[in-house]
Structures are given as structure tokens and as C-alpha cells.
């Protein structure tokens, strides 16, 4: 077995389910891999451990950081994208029911959000930075302000707000409004792709199979493993996350439907790149194609595991 370290960008949760599934059900082992999942944390320090070789694969959040890597000459690239849609959402109080209503609202946005998707909201829809107030991953200020909207993760904040504040917030999935990045990508080092493409291929394939089994098979053991890595995790939260991932087609929709989970296309990449150029997040002359390769995806691996209904 080849020893492989895979770093995530957050603590263990259902959004990492496919990988845990592939670990616990022996899929990785079957592909000759001994995978250790290294959970990230609030600071996503795992990012830099990939280029220096302390990790072999890293779970990227969206394509912005992949573009930045090209810009900063960091020798990493995206080899698969397990989320077709970024689960990034804006939530709002009932009463502010339309996307347009958000423009008049106070928006609670994190510093990272401000540096990324919010720039797109500004350039694409005319939001302004002056309506932003700080968000530190605690929704209390949002709940307290009936005129506020807030960033969130499709699978987390809406549930927390509903459970604690007793109302169902409106949920606007940015992907549905044109934020066309892939998410939960698999990044690796350029030299690994060149010197050991077989290893990369095996990891991408086994991970895709893991995702199919996690979404459509028996995921009880994977969930146990998640809860082992993150004792804060609850069954309610996991169930909610899985349901939302399915409902919104986060993992398995669009290109993934026929090319298999993990699918990427040049068109989507170009579309998102252009939007980021317009938002001023990346320069127009960036050779963004260096940020990914389609060499390992779109092969339909695992499509057979999908229920036929």
C-alpha cells in the first residue's frame, strides 16, 4: 500500500463523507492506498503543508485559491472537483425573500468571504462593501438583526439558525446565482502528477467511489469515523448535511451526472475565471489553465454505483 496523507480544510463533517467512506469500506486499500485524513481547522493551515510535501493531497475550498497558486508560482494544481456547486450561501430573515432584497441589508461576511465571493457579488450584482459587518462564524448577531443577511454554508448555518432561533431563514445558494466555481477540490503537487500519475489516478478514482457509496450506500461506518475525528458532530447535523447535499446536487449534478463525481470542464473553469477577473480578484493575464488538469477526471468511474431511479 502507498502511504498517502490527505488534508481537509475543516474539521471532520459530512462534507468529507466520501473520503471517510473510502477509508472505512476499504476502497482506498483496494486501490493500493493507505490514506490518512488530516482534518483542518478554523485557520486551514493545511494549505501550505501540501507544497512542502507534508501532505500529498489537499482538499481545496474553491477555485480562487487554485488561481492564486498559479499567480504565486505555487506548484500545485487541482486534479478533481468533488463538489459541482460551492455550498456557499447567503441566508436572510423571512421578509427579505428575494436576492435583490439583500442589497439593502446588513450583510455579515467573514474576512475570507470578503476577499473572495463577496468581490464577485460586488462586481456582478452591485453589492457594496459598506453594507458588510464582520462575521466570525457565530450567527447570533445575524439572528438579533432582523434586517441582516449573513454568509453561511448550505449544510450548517441554516440548521443552526433554525434550531436555535426557531425560524427557517431564506437560503440563497451562490452557485445558483452564477458563482460557478467547483468546490471541495482535490489538489496535489505538480511533480506528483508528473512523476506518479498512477497514484494520483488511484486516489481520484477511489475517492469518487467513496462519494458514491457515501451518498447512496450504507454510510453508517463513515459517519462513525467522522464523529470519532470530531466529537462535536451530531447525527442530526450529518443527516441534515447529507440531505442538503443531495437536495441541491452539490456533489452529484451537472457534469458529474454523466462524467462521474469529480468531473471538471474547461468551460466551467473559463466561466468562473472570467467572473473573477471582472471582480478584480485575479488578473486577466493569469494562465489559469495551469491551475487544473482534466487528466484524471471525467472517466465515469463509479457511475455504476449510482441508483438507477
Amino acid at each position: 500500500l502507498d502511504k498517502v496523507r490527505f488534508g481537509t480544510n475543516w474539521v471532520a463533517q459530512a462534507e468529507h463523507g466520501g473520503y471517510y467512506q473510502a477509508v472505512v469500506d476499504g476502497t482506498y486499500a483496494k486501490y493500493g492506498l493507505d490514506v490518512e485524513i488530516v482534518p483542518g481547522g478554523p485557520q486551514s493551515n493545511n494549505r501550505m503543508l501540501l507544497p512542502v510535501g507534508k501532505l500529498d493531497f489537499y482538499m481545496g475550498g474553491n477555485m480562487i485559491q487554485a488561481f492564486s497558486a498559479v499567480q504565486e508560482n505555487i506548484p500545485t494544481l487541482v486534479v478533481a472537483a468533488h463538489f459541482q456547486k460551492d455550498p456557499q450561501v447567503i441566508i436572510s430573515h423571512p421578509g427579505m425573500d428575494k436576492w435583490e432584497d439583500l442589497k439593502g441589508a446588513t450583510l455579515l461576511i467573514s474576512k475570507e468571504g470578503l476577499a473572495s465571493f463577496y468581490q464577485w457579488m460586488v462586481s456582478q450584482y452591485g453589492f457594496s462593501e459598506s453594507q458588510v459587518r464582520p462575521y466570525n462564524y457565530n450567527a447570533a448577531p445575524f439572528i438579533a438583526d432582523k434586517k441582516a443577511g449573513q454568509q453561511g454554508y448550505l449544510t450548517s448555518e441554516p440548521l443552526a439558525v433554525e434550531r436555535e432561533a426557531g425560524f427557517k431563514p431564506n437560503v440563497f445558494l451562490l452557485a445558483d446565482y452564477g458563482f460557478s466555481t467547483y468546490a471541495t477540490t482535490v489538489e496535489t503537487r505538480r511533480d506528483l502528477v508528473e512523476k506518479n500519475p498512477d497514484l494520483v489516478q488511484r486516489f481520484v478514482d477511489a475517492s469518487a467511489i467513496g462519494w458514491y457509496n457515501y451518498l447512496y450506500g450504507d454510510n453508517a461506518k463513515a459517519n462513525e469515523a467522522i464523529k470519532r475525528d470530531n466529537p462535536e458532530m451530531t447525527d442530526e447535523q450529518i443527516a441534515y448535511s447529507v440531505a442538503k447535499m443531495k437536495e441541491y446536487g452539490i456533489v452529484d449534478s451537472g457534469d458529474a451526472s454523466d462524467k462521474g463525481i469529480g468531473a471538471m470542464t474547461d468551460e466551467r473553469m473559463k466561466d468562473f475565471f472570467d467572473k473573477m477577473v471582472k471582480a478584480g480578484v485575479v488578473p486577466a493575464d493569469l494562465d489559469y489553465k495551469k491551475s487544473y488538469t482534466l487528466q484524471f477526471v471525467n472517466k465515469g468511474v463509479g457511475l455504476d454505483l449510482k441508483p438507477k431511479n
Partner: protein, 277 residues
């Protein structure tokens, strides 16, 4: 408590003394209880929802319910705290001693100490993680938060040794080392202990901040992770239960060092000596 400064009222007899001592414990407790009661009332009367500010009663209930998880995390945080504080004391005192050797050394290296103090550890944690094990990186971060007050106060204390006594030591041909051991360090003690009282709290904060900046999440994680995760999940009573534990730990550490100060200083230093009535 850093400073039992007041003219204690004259006491006539041991029973009065004991009453004073009892009051010294009861009064702060009573005031704390009063503050808690006020908080409870404010929450109840204004119907502040728990996700904004939970009532003390609810925090207490959460504390009991989640005790195993929270207690485990508390131990992790306390372990980092004390390791970091230990490193901060050793590092801070050794550096202060080094600086006291010569004004040149002090002038040349104090800027580096300042740089270490003011560099946000969130920023350098990724760099540390590249070269260090996560456990070590957390410790380094917590150390960085805590060491400066100890260094700075100890350096001040070492410099404050009475010049006449320094002359006396010179006269007896005391080596630099003996001068340090028998004169400079004892003279620096009140200042060092003051630094320790500041550093104790900072080591605790440091342990929290370091866990956020460089800690591995998941099992074996400390209170910082509980706080962030609870905040994220809007489980605010649990977050406050964790904050409560941090506060209690902070107060106990402070009391510990205050007691230590009293023990070491009460026979000779103004700050701890009772004024003769």
C-alpha cells in the same frame, strides 16, 4: 490581591482576625454571586434568547450535561497553558538575565523580543507548522503570547537592585553569577512575580489562541475548539460553559500566583508586607 495595600483596621484579638480572614474570602464570593444573580435577572427580565446570552442557570445545566467533553478539553487546555507558562518563565527569565549582562546585549536583542511579542501568531502559525509538529507549534504560539511580560518585568526587576548592595557585592569580589543568584534575582522577585501574574493569564489566552491558530482539531482538542465549534453551531450555552471554565482556570491561576507572591514576599517587600498597625 496583587497588593494587600490597605491599612488593615486594627484588630483586637484572634477572633477578630479570623473574622477578617473569613470576610476576605466570603466577600469576593458574595460579590461574584451577586453579579451572577444580576446576570440571571437581566436575561430573564429582558427575555434575552440563549443564543445571544444564555442565563447562568442554563450555563450551569450545560456544564453538568457536557461535563465529560468539556472537562477533557479543559485538561488539554490547562496542559498547554502550564507547559507554555513553564517555557515562558524559563525563556523570559533566562533572556532577562542575558539582557542584564550588558547594555549592548540588551540594546541589540530586545527588539527581537518585541518582534516576537507583536507578531500575530495567526500569521506565523502556518510557517511554524511546516517546520514543527503540531503539538510543538501550539506550544511555541502559546509561549509567544506569554513570555514578554515575564521577560520585561524580570529585566526591570534585575535592573532595580539597590546600587549600594551592588557595591557591596562588588567589594566582596562576587562573581557575576553569584551577584545574580544572591542579589539580582531576589531583588527582581517582586517584579518577576508581577510578570508571572500577567503571564499566567496570558498563557491561558495563549493556549486558546494557539489552539485556534495551530491546533489540530477533532479528538484531543482543547477548549478553544469547543468554543469555535459551539459558536459555529450556535450552541451558545455550551460556548459560555467553556468560557466559564476558562474564567475559573484564570482566576485560580491568578490566585495561585498571588498566594505565591504573598508567601515569598510578605516578610520583606512593601507590596506584600502588612503595615504595622
Amino acid at each position: 490581591m496583587s497588593a494587600s495595600t490597605d491599612d488593615t483596621p486594627a484588630t483586637s484579638g484572634p477572633s477578630r482576625m479570623d473574622a477578617t480572614r473569613l470576610a476576605a474570602i466570603l466577600l469576593p464570593v458574595a460579590i461574584l454571586l451577586l453579579a451572577v444573580a444580576g446576570w440571571e435577572a437581566a436575561v430573564q427580565l429582558n427575555e434575552i434568547p440563549p443564543y445571544i446570552l444564555p442565563a447562568p442557570s442554563q450555563i450551569a445545566a450545560t456544564l453538568v450535561k457536557d461535563w465529560p467533553v468539556l472537562f477533557g478539553s479543559l485538561l488539554v487546555t490547562l496542559r498547554i497553558t502550564f507547559l507554555a507558562l513553564f517555557a515562558a518563565v524559563v525563556g523570559g527569565v533566562l533572556l532577562a538575565i542575558l539582557f542584564a549582562q550588558s547594555r549592548w546585549i540588551e540594546l541589540s536583542f530586545f527588539p527581537f523580543a518585541v518582534i516576537l511579542q507583536v507578531t500575530p501568531i495567526v500569521a506565523i502559525a502556518p510557517l511554524l507548522l511546516i517546520y514543527l509538529e503540531p503539538g510543538t507549534a501550539v506550544l511555541v504560539c502559546a509561549f509567544l503570547v506569554a513570555f514578554f511580560p515575564i521577560l520585561s518585568n524580570t529585566a526591570l526587576g534585575l535592573a532595580s537592585a539597590d546600587h549600594n548592595l551592588r557595591d557591596l557585592f562588588d567589594l566582596y569580589g562576587a562573581s557575576r553569577f553569584k551577584q545574580l543568584i544572591y542579589l539580582r534575582l531576589p531583588a527582581a522577585l517582586p517584579y518577576f512575580l508581577g510578570g508571572l501574574r500577567i503571564g499566567g493569564g496570558l498563557a491561558l489566552i495563549g493556549a486558546i489562541v494557539a489552539e485556534i491558530a495551530a491546533g489540530t482539531a477533532g479528538q484531543g482538542s482543547g477548549l478553544a475548539f469547543r468554543i469555535i465549534e459551539s459558536g459555529y453551531r450556535l450552541n451558545i450555552p455550551r460556548m459560555f460553559a467553556a468560557l466559564f471554565l476558562i474564567s475559573v482556570a484564570g482566576i485560580l491561576i491568578f490566585l495561585l500566583f498571588t498566594a505565591l507572591s504573598h508567601l515569598l514576599l510578605h516578610r520583606w517587600h512593601e507590596s506584600a508586607r502588612k503595615r504595622e498597625a
